[in-house]
Symmetry: C2
Subunit: 199 residues, 2 copies
DNA sequence: ACTTTAAGCGGACCATGGTCCGCTTGATTG
DNA sequence: CAATCAAGCGGACCATGGTCCGCTTAAAGT
């Protein structure tokens, strides 16, 4: 760990050279990533490809997971836009219940496309919960649950719902156990319906 | 990875010296563990404390996670005995619904006691699903769900239920978010009730 | 422009997980 | 008991994530 400043966030203002190197590194990593598996992406190779020293990578991203998460964050923006401000039923405009139903499949598809990176970024099991993207999802779901008057603890239910479509779980079920994605979508709908049904 | 024999299992029969070294290693690891955090347990120190070479540790346990899981497996036996053959309501003798209700708190308590090791053993997010102990839990819950005539996909519901009391999640919620364990237990009961309630 | 200073940089260095391969030894067979 | 041989062993070796610290430089003040 090595975050000498700004207690919880990245310092909002990077010096010009630092900002340049940051995008240089992100680009280099992306480029390397499309030529090999995420597992083969070494910090040193990224630094070399970006033409900077290894120390710079660590200074900027903290550790390997940090780099991968930053890479992921970028791709995640699309999904976030879709459920925060995109068209219904995922975005605002539909009922909370409909938005909940739409959320699962959307995340499932997003994870299908990005699971190698997502899985590679998860070395520390606790780190996941610190990822801003996850927080956003949790809060969003919790909000929808409240809007839909679903009984129970909204925050915990949100965690439970998201847990049921967690990348690692889904990957395990689809590859090791041969379950089709449709079965998982069905289970999502069942779960949402079940939790939302009037007592 | 380094499992030269027996495709999916440990070879059931270890040579005498190998078996001896295995328990030597497990003991040494246990001993070291009670003197420092799991994070400080290095493979080399375990080997040294057991009086064997480093290669032997890897040959026996595959990798670090394998060693930690083996350590855990031993402690897990108690919990397994409790829900497989212990007294009701956790063990057989109570209704399936009652057993389900009892299961959450039991796991929660078990995880409270062992979370440092459990978390340390989780480096590869996919590896978890290969742990025999987890399989056992999943199958057990799925069976109870069927017995209780809970509607929906028993296997997926089992994953969802267990996910809601996953060690990493619980640790995050109790330490980062300051939630008392009671709140998690309540949520468990709510979830079980909700899923089991007649449509 | 000149000074100042803290952010940034880089690459030598360290720790540790994991591999390899030649040697040793417990089991098995006759 | 001798011979055989696969399982086991150990420690040198390698790859890589992560740290450290002296040097450089962008940026803000005067």
């Amino acid at each position: 760990m090595n975050l000498p400043l700004a207690p919880t966030d990245e310092p909002p203002q990077l010096r010009a050279d630092a900002a340049r190197n940051r995008t240089l590194l992100l680009d280099a990593a992306s480029r390397l990533l499309s030529g090999c598996g995420a597992a083969d992406l070494t910090m040193e190779s990224v630094a070399a490809a970006a033409g900077v020293g290894k120390g710079t990578v660590f200074r900027r991203f903290g550790d390997r997971a940090g780099l991968l998460i930053a890479l992921l964050d970028h791709r995640e923006k699309q999904l976030q836009a879709a459920f925060l401000s995109g068209p219904p039923p995922l975005g605002p405009g539909a009922s909370a219940a409909d938005r909940l139903h739409a959320f699962g499949p959307a995340v499932l598809r997003h994870e299908r496309d990005h699971h190698p990176l997502i899985l590679a970024s998860r070395t520390d099991p606790l780190r996941n919960y610190a990822v801003p993207a996850l927080h956003l999802r949790i809060n969003h779901i919790a909000m929808l649950l409240r809007q839909a008057d679903v009984p129970g603890d909204p925050e915990l239910l949100a965690h439970t719902l998201l847990g049921s479509i967690d990348t690692a779980l889904v990957h395990h079920l689809t590859t090791e156990r041969g379950m089709p994605l449709e079965r998982l979508e069905e289970a999502w709908h069942h779960l949402v319906t079940r939790l939302g049904a009037p007592a």
